[in-house]
């Protein structure tokens, strides 16, 4: 068990380790030649496996594709909503997506995503896991799978949780059958302190508490060393990892007050805007998956007003995120997925709203090997209410194809089967990657 005094000396240890790594790097110049060869070869090889992290901008409640990523200006179904051109010829976005339109060269769209779930709770599960709810087990969310599958040396250097959910709603990403340790760590508006990481008493008292805890655990473990069933799990208790986390300076990634005023203003002075900025900093620290939630899209009443309000918040944050990732040279290794659990009906209901529509909605992808400025699939500009909704889609993709695309870009073998606790072998993903987004 970590000696309690280690926790205040953590800062120094971390510093030593970093400087040690730097020195190791510099002294390694001699083996550069064979290394360079390898690097050159791998650069020529498959683009797959480029993405290292994932940011999910989760628009809960379901955004209307007709006001965001798939406008059909001038048709009946648009209901008066306008479109705007982007910096990619031939692609238009909803009029409110002003700043995102200027980043279109980095962003690609699948406008023909489908799902079989029209109920929020079930559809959210479906969108986050790529599977429909199953009474026998809980599927892991996409971020949990990524953290489970990607466990390399760099991951062990990250003290803070590698799977984070900022501004979580009731259903943040879960580890499911992979285990609770892959659950997303929930944090709220970055202006608030991160929950549960700060000791509630001053250092001296905290050390005294930890001494008492050590003593209490020793008493309990005295007679239990010979229990072969729980032996290790009793002793190893995540206490050491918890203490390390509490004193890690990687926690600063959550603190957006350290960022310049102008940069913060870029993202928008909203919880969502701040969270996107925090997500960026977390990715820089080595976090694998950050999910940022923006709720309030469920516009059954007053669609245009509701959507416009949400878009106002989304637009600067999303665009700034792409812009900053590009600027810091992180866009190639960071995939950004933006969307909700389904879309909204093409016709306006009597209350001026749009209802649920899983028969052709939009998901936006950028970074991490995604070739920007492309559109996959098309929705019908004049769908007939009576006929089957899916018949009018060009190139439909079930939502699990989005998952497959992400996994493929990250070099994850999603078709291999994992053993689940109920004895049922389960593929990580049952979709197919949308190659047209990944091929150069």
């Amino acid at each position: 068990m970590v000696n309690p005094t280690d926790f205040i000396q953590k800062q120094q240890t971390h510093f030593h380790r970093r400087s040690l790594l730097k020195m190791a790097g510099l002294s390694g110049l001699s083996w550069l030649t064979p290394l360079a060869t390898r690097l050159a070869r791998s650069a020529e090889a498959d683009q797959r496996g480029k993405a290292k992290s994932l940011i999910v901008l989760w628009l809960e409640g379901a955004p209307s594709q007709l006001e965001t990523f798939d406008p059909h200006e001038g048709t009946t179904i648009a209901g008066g909503s306008k479109a705007r051109k982007t910096n990619v010829n031939g692609i238009s976005l909803g009029d409110g997506m002003q700043q995102v339109a200027e980043q279109m060269e980095h962003i690609s769209l699948i406008r023909s995503v489908t799902s079989k779930e029209g109920d929020h709770e079930r559809a959210i599960y479906n969108a986050k896991t790529g599977f429909r709810p199953d009474p026998t087990l809980i599927h892991p969310s996409i971020g949990s799978v990524i953290c489970h599958q990607m466990n390399q040396e760099q991951d062990r250097l990250v003290d803070i949780p590698r799977h984070i959910s900022i501004l979580p709603s009731k259903t943040p990403g879960r580890g499911g059958y992979l285990g609770d340790q892959f659950d997303a760590f929930k944090v709220f508006d970055p202006v608030q302190p991160i929950p549960d990481v700060a000791a509630r008493v001053e250092t001296k008292r905290q050390l005294s508490r930890l001494e008492k805890l050590k003593f209490a655990d020793q008493q309990f473990l005295k007679n239990r060393g010979n229990n072969s069933i729980i032996g290790e799990s009793l002793k190893s208790s995540n206490l050491d990892a918890a203490i390390r986390l509490m004193s890690s300076d990687q926690l600063n990634a959550f603190d957006v007050s350290q960022v310049s005023e102008s940069e913060r203003a870029q993202f928008g002075d909203t919880p969502f805007g701040r969270s996107c900025l925090a997500a960026l900093r977390l990715i820089e620290t080595g976090v694998r998956c950050v999910e940022v939630t923006l709720t309030g899209w469920d516009s059954h009443v007053n669609n245009h007003e509701t959507q416009a309000g949400r878009i106002n918040i989304l637009d600067p944050a999303y665009a700034s995120l792409i812009k900053e990732l590009k600027k810091r040279d992180l866009l190639d290794s960071t995939m950004v997925v933006c969307g909700g659990e389904f879309g909204r009906t093409p016709w306006i209901n009597p209350l001026g709203g749009r209802d649920h529509w899983p028969h052709g909605f939009s998901i936006a992808l950028a970074g991490g090997g995604i070739q920007g400025g492309r559109v996959i699939g098309e929705t019908d500009p004049n769908p007939k209410r009576e006929s089957a909704p899916k018949a009018s889609l060009k190139q439909p993709h079930p939502i699990e194809d989005v998952h497959a695309t992400v996994f493929s870009a990250m070099g994850i073998e999603f078709e291999t089967e994992l053993d689940t606790p109920i004895g049922r072998p389960m593929k990580i993903c049952e979709g197919k990657p949308v190659q047209a987004l990944l091929d150069v």
């Binding site: 709770e121 285990g179 609770d180 549960d196 655990d217 008493q219 309990f220 009793l234 918890a242």
Partner: protein, 547 residues
């Protein structure tokens, strides 16, 4: 005159408030839940038979067994299992004043009379029946279902009648809460207002029959994991079996009047794996076909078959689950995967016999389990503990507590009084609010609450620095802040701290260590020491694990 009236009203109000807030607690003796002596003696006989059966198994396998623990720890185990909390200081004092041979019976009787128990058991059983998700909010009320079930458990409604009611009830999800079992499975989209027969078949099988046949929804059993058919002629389960069970639910619909049977019979159609079109599947029970009364109403027919006196899987499933609730793991694990053809531990058969022959009496089942020596076994032993020891209950299993148990224990250990239905409403509300927040951050184990999901760093952080633990320790209305100032005698202080957190007296080394930390301190520093000691005990393994 008016002034006088107003003053008396004001003072009367303040007096009433003061009185209710400072009322001295008295523990009432259990009333109707206390079984009479004949029943108790009878319960003891069954417990003895159980313990003999275990002893036979141990000697057959050449296994050593652990020694016995003191009654106080047994009381803690029972509280955690069926009430989701630990004994309060007042309860411990009262407990210790009972004659030793009667302590556990007294404790079980007391708990069975407490709404906390029925509420907590209802929550645990509800997980298996309708899961934990919020569900379709317009037509599903999980809280109503839980409180309905809690009422039934409190009044000790026979389990077979309870299940029959769940399967056959009609009405609105608010007025007839049992129907939430059905409405839970209605997907809220415009295409359907019918409860999903496939989901219902899976739930019925898992929750009531202790068998998992969900894989048979899509294909025959090719892994030899599901046994069905007649006892003399067990065979692998087939897709036909699953859908024949689902077919029982084809005549249910949801309307403005709630759940009811349709007027005209609607046949159940399904396209089986090797067929090219859907065909009608008639309702058929998956085993014990001889118990099928073939009533015309499908739900009644199913309910009668499930709860039939000779449908042993039904009784076995209930017994196994209750054992798991009290021990942390079932006699057969996973708890809802009991093979149709056995083998069955002898203890399971003894308890099942007793359960059936006494009218599916859940309170009695709890009493019997509570009277066994098995429940008093130590979780630590001086020999190497292996899975065999645990399977044959030669030691008490050491198992992580569920989040509600941890939350309940934290709340009670830091409280001056017993948090039960007699407690003040603000106390209970505060506990309720903190508990929900805690459980949601801790991570809900979901429907499969008996599987060990491992501990996470987030959970440790929540205990070390979290709001609930911190708040309850720092709040001046709670025990930790009061202890140092209320009791001048340091030995008593330390004793109380250990009793309220770990439900035991401190050993000599612990007492010395703690008292030396408290001695010679000024009042403020002593108060901090007390709180720090509490903190360390709430965070230690002994608190967080059931043992």
């Amino acid at each position: 005159m008016k002034d006088l009236f107003f003053l008396s009203l004001a003072f009367g109000g303040i007096a009433a408030l003061a009185f209710s807030l400072t009322r001295v607690e008295k523990i009432a003796a259990p009333k109707f839940a206390k079984a009479n002596d004949l029943v108790l003696a009878d319960v003891d006989l069954v417990a003895e038979a159980i313990d003999s059966a275990f002893a036979e198994d141990w000697s057959a396998q050449n296994l050593s067994h652990a020694d016995q623990v003191n009654n106080l720890l047994v009381a803690r185990r029972i509280s955690l299992g069926i009430a989701g909390t630990i004994p309060s200081l007042a309860e411990i004092r009262e407990f210790e004043s009972q004659p030793e041979s009667e302590q556990i019976d007294w404790w079980v009787a007391r708990l069975l009379e407490d709404r906390r128990t029925s509420n907590y058991l209802a929550e645990r059983l509800t997980r298996a029946l309708v899961g934990v998700e919020e569900g379709p909010f317009l037509i599903f009320r999980r809280r109503r279902f839980v409180s309905w079930l809690s009422d039934k458990l409190f009044l000790n409604k026979p389990y077979d009648e309870l299940v029959a009611e769940i399967l056959t009830e009609e009405g609105l999800w608010t007025d007839a809460p049992a129907v939430n079992f059905y409405t839970r499975t209605i997907a809220q989209n415009e295409e359907s207002n019918k409860p999903d027969p496939v989901l219902l078949a899976g739930r019925t099988s898992r929750a009531f029959l202790g068998m998992r046949i969900d894989c048979l929804q899509c294909h025959d059993d090719f892994l030899d994991t599901v046994e069905l058919g007649n006892a003399e002629d067990l065979r692998s389960g087939t897709q036909q079996d699953f859908h024949s069970l689902a077919a029982f639910f084809s005549d249910v619909e949801s309307s403005l009047l709630g759940i009811r049977d349709v007027k005209e019979h609607q046949p159940y159609e399904y396209q089986l794996l090797d067929e090219d079109k859907a065909s009608v599947v008639v309702p058929m029970v998956p085993f014990h076909a001889e118990l099928d009364g073939k009533e015309s109403n499908q739900r009644t027919r199913l309910a009668n078959w499930v709860t039939h006196q000779e449908n042993r899987p039904f009784a076995r499933a209930a017994v196994n689950r209750m054992w798991a609730i009290m021990f942390g793991r079932g006699l057969i694990n996973p708890v809802d995967e009991i093979p149709l053809g056995g083998p069955f531990p002898k203890v399971l058969e003894i308890l099942t016999d007793d359960f059936v022959s006494h009218g599916y009496d859940l309170h009695r089942l709890i009493r019997v389990i509570g009277s066994t020596q098995a429940l008093r076994l130590n979780s630590a032993a001086d020999f190497t503990v292996t899975p065999s020891h645990e399977n044959l209950v030669a030691v008490f299993p050491t198992i992580r507590l569920r989040p509600e148990q941890v939350a309940g224990a934290i709340a009670q250990s830091t409280s001056l009084t017993t948090i039960n239905s007699g407690a003040h409403i603000t106390t209970r509300l505060m506990k309720f609010g903190q508990q929900n927040e805690f459980v949601s951050r801790f991570g809900d184990p979901g429907e499969d609450e008996f599987s060990d999901r491992g501990e996470t760093v987030t959970q440790r952080l929540l205990m070390l620095n979290g709001e609930m633990v911190g708040e309850r320790l720092e709040n001046i209305l709670n025990a930790p802040s009061h202890l140092a100032s209320l009791s001048p005698d340091l030995d008593t202080v330390v004793d109380v701290i250990y009793l309220t957190t770990l439900t035991r007296h401190p050993n000599e080394e612990e007492r010395r260590q703690a008292v030396s930390g408290l001695s010679g301190q000024d009042r403020e520093r002593r108060g901090e020491e007390v709180i720090d000691l509490y903190w360390s005990l709430l965070n230690c393994a002994e608190f967080r694990w059931n043992h």
